[in-house]
Amino acid sequence: MLMYARIKIRDTVRVVPTRLNEDIESVIMDLLWEQFEGKLDREYGMIIGIEDIEDIGEGKIIEGDGAVYFDVTFTAIVFKPLMQEIVEGEVVEIVEFGAFVSIGPLDALLHMSQITDDYMTYDEKNKRLVGKETKKVLQEGDFVRARIVALSLKEREPDKSKIGLTMRQPWLGSLKWIEEELKALEEGLNG
């Protein structure tokens, strides 16, 4: 899968004087997690974790600040959704205009109109979506396979980033439906 990648980052970390007596590597590790986890970059995607520190430079002390600045090189794991990419994920929420699918650190929206070729109705009582003619059901906890068709990553506010999905293509949809379809196909071939 292309969605996750390991990248190398070099940046400066400011270590406050209060933490100077601790083991510097673990302090820097803490600060890196604090600084970089969940950070979104348009080009590289979202940093979901620091893997390893490769190099810690000399600790520089600049005028007017008691803190020590380190140039650190480290590897991090990033999550980067791509357009047209096929993703699988769990439905985490059903709302009246569609479903939210968790595809990793971010949730993507699967709109009502993009679920099946059929017309979907919202069943408020059971929190699920039902196909008007096919009676196909989509509810929380279902695993789906979908394609990313819209991508809008916001560097400043990662929470407001939007990812749009579609399942209106062959062999996309809830994994349950695909299984049923496969079974039907097999039966057709055998029969």
């Binding site: 510097i24 810690i56 600790g59 520089k60 002390i61 020590v68």
Partner: protein, 377 residues
């Protein structure tokens, strides 16, 4: 001699070494004691060294600037016993630092070779040879308007003093005016062919400016006995011409015109001349400035082999930074020129960074601190 080996190891200036050696020899101590003394001297020497990061230029500027405020604005003074006018005080100092090509009172100190230096008559002879002599110095000149001629009444005594012959004078005038000169019972007569009063007066003016003997630039020569030799002091200066004259010891002859020294003797000589002139000007005013400050100034003026003034056309004007130049003189012009050319200021120097409000690379600002912490892999 026996202390030489001990001293050799230490990187101490030669002059200081000599001083220590002299003192050691006077005390006549043994080797171990000498070693200890030298070690102590070296320690003291190190303590007196300038530390890296010290603002040497600023200290030099202050050390010369503060006494400068106390200098008299009175410009003229008679230098020592010799009754020659010399610019002194602040105007002279400015003259030196501005590297004026024509200082207001050029002056030379000429020393003679052994043969001439001891003998008053011979020294006088050279003095006469170099002093510019004009017709008015040896004769009365009258204009005869009716007959359109100039009559030169030669003064025999003066002629004798200058060791001049009538024919020589005649030849010189003929060459200078490109006119015929007639000798008539001890008088020289110049006949103007053109019947014009203006032509007569022009010729008269020209005549007055003909140098009969000597060097044009040397207006006056004074012979003075200094120790056991005669020394010539001149008003006006021309090092190049003077150095060619027989009987002059050019190794000990000098001028107070720094630019002339630079042109004739080169940049190192110019550097020494700046130091000598500046320090003597300050000393004459009773101000004590350490030579090293002046040496720094002289070094800056001469580093690139070219004699540069301290100022817009020299050291200050040659700075790379636009802001530093603008801070010195002609702020608007400098900034405007830079803007038109699209110049870039890299903010490498001191002045620029002060203007911009950044820490400067000097003293504590030039120190780069590194935290030495454990836990490095």
């Amino acid at each position: 001699m026996k202390y030489d080996n001990l001293l050799d190891k230490y990187p101490i200036p030669k002059a200081l070494k000599e001083e220590i050696k002299e003192e050691l020899e006077r005390l006549n101590v043994n080797k171990t004691t000498a070693k200890k003394i030298i070690e102590k001297c070296y320690e003291a020497y190190l303590k007196n060294l300038m530390e890296p990061g010290e603002a040497a230029g600023i200290i030099a500027a202050q050390s010369m600037g503060e006494p400068g405020t106390q200098m008299t604005m009175r410009t003229f003074h008679y230098a020592g016993v010799a009754e020659i006018d010399v610019t002194l005080g602040l105007p002279r100092l400015i003259e030196i630092l501005d590297v004026r090509k024509n200082p207001s009172t050029p002056m030379m100190t000429i020393r003679l070779t052994e043969e001439y230096a001891k003998d008053r008559e011979k020294a006088r002879e050279i003095a006469n040879k170099i002093e510019a002599t004009y017709i008015l110095d040896i004769a009365d000149v009258a204009t005869d308007i009716r007959n359109m001629r100039i009559i030169i009444n030669l003064d025999e005594k003066a002629m004798q003093r200058k060791k001049l012959k009538v024919e020589d004078v005649k030849k010189k005038i003929e060459k200078g005016l490109k006119m015929e000169v007639v000798e008539e019972d001890g008088k020289l007569i110049i006949q103007i062919s053109e019947p014009s009063f203006k032509a007569l007066m022009d010729t008269f003016d020209k005549l007055k400016n003909i140098v009969l003997v000597g060097i044009k630039e040397i207006r006056r020569v004074i012979v003075r006995k200094e120790g056991d030799e005669y020394v010539l002091y001149t008003e006006g200066s021309s090092l190049k011409k003077i150095m060619k004259i027989k009987g002059i010891d050019f190794t000990r002859t000098t001028t107070n015109n720094v630019y002339e020294i630079y042109e004739v003797l080169g940049i190192e000589a110019a550097r020494n001349a700046i130091i000598k002139e500046a320090i003597s000007t300050l000393e004459e005013q009773g101000l004590e400035v350490d030579v090293r400050h002046i040496m720094l100034v002289a070094d800056v003026m001469t580093v690139d082999g070219e004699l540069k003034q301290i100022g817009r056309h020299g050291v200050a004007g040659g700075k790379h930074s636009i802001l530093a130049r603008a801070a010195f003189e002609m702020t608007v012009n400098n900034l405007l020129d830079a803007a038109i050319k699209g110049d870039v200021d890299l903010l490498r120097g001191i002045t620029e960074n002060i203007i911009v409000g950044q820490p400067i690379k000097l003293g504590t600002g030039d120190v780069e601190l590194i935290a030495k912490l454990g836990g490095r892999r």
